[in-house]
């Protein structure tokens, strides 16, 4: 009796701890230095919490991604993202072959639409991966952009 009660108390506190670890706290979202400095896309994805990129859910029909097929100037590549996945909390943008692949991330509250558009730099032709975190699950949509003149180095 005593033991099972102890166990229950332990389990409850363990669960409470786990839930605080699993639920991303929007108020505490910070610029993640480690993820932004990684030079390898897999390492960068791991540091945002994706253990194995193979396990990413296919988000290609739920993430509306607008990118040019060919970007003449890699210094200005327009990107537009709309997530149709309920409870979208966060959107990450990776340019696979940039010196540091993580380009940006957006933390949403329910008081803003899960939509964003901006302009990014791409050093060379590469896949752009958009990762949506919704209700604790990561989804991906990717598109290749052909870059005529790279946009990271000299002008």
């Amino acid at each position: 009796m005593k033991l099972s009660k102890k166990r229950r108390v332990f389990l409850r506190s363990a669960l409470a701890l786990m839930s605080t670890l699993l639920i991303p706290n929007q108020g505490n979202a910070r610029w993640d230095k480690k993820a932004y400095n990684e030079v390898n896309i897999v390492d960068s994805m791991q540091s945002i919490g994706i253990r194995n990129p193979e396990e990413l859910r296919d988000g290609s029909n739920k993430i509306e991604l607008s990118l040019p097929e060919i970007a003449e100037n890699g210094a200005i590549v327009p990107i537009k993202i709309l997530s149709k996945i309920p409870k979208t909390e966060r959107i990450f943008v990776f340019a696979e072959k940039n010196p540091q692949p993580l380009v940006s991330d957006y933390v949403f509250t329910p008081n803003v639409e899960p939509f964003v558009a901006s302009r990014i730099k791409m050093s060379e032709t590469a896949f752009v991966h958009v990762i949506v975190l919704a209700d604790g699950i990561f989804y991906r949509a990717a598109r290749q952009v052909k870059v005529t003149i790279g946009g990271c180095g000299e002008e």
Binding site: Q26, V103, S104, Y106, V107, N111, V112, V116, R119, I120
Partner: protein, 104 residues
């Protein structure tokens, strides 16, 4: 209010379509100064906080892979004329800027 931030807001069916531009060099650190031949140090905005009537609604994290004079478009539901939109940015050199606008 400083002049680093420019807003364009269009209100349609209670949804504010907000476009902002921030004047900033967004240097990658990989570029060489043509005159001095020295590398130009990296200089980029890493965080932008967005508020609607003083309440935080969205946080943006950027890297040096975001284009010069960054452009950002987002949509705020439940918006009406007279509402205040605000943004505050911070870069890796400790510089910062703010901008506010009232929805017309």
């Amino acid at each position: 209010m400083d002049k680093t931030v420019r807003f364009r807001v269009r209100l349609n069916d209670k949804i504010a379509d907000v476009k902002i531009m921030i004047f900033h060099p967004m240097e990658t650190g990989y570029r060489k100064d043509k005159l001095t031949k020295n590398m130009i140090p990296k200089h980029f905005i890493h965080t932008v906080k967005i508020g609607h009537n003083q309440k935080p609604i969205m946080q943006v994290h950027w890297s040096r892979s975001v284009s010069k004079n960054p452009y950002l478009n987002f949509r705020v539901p439940n918006a009406i004329g007279g509402d205040e939109l605000s943004i505050a940015w911070e870069d890796n050199m400790g510089e910062s800027g703010v901008g506010t606008t009232i929805i017309a």
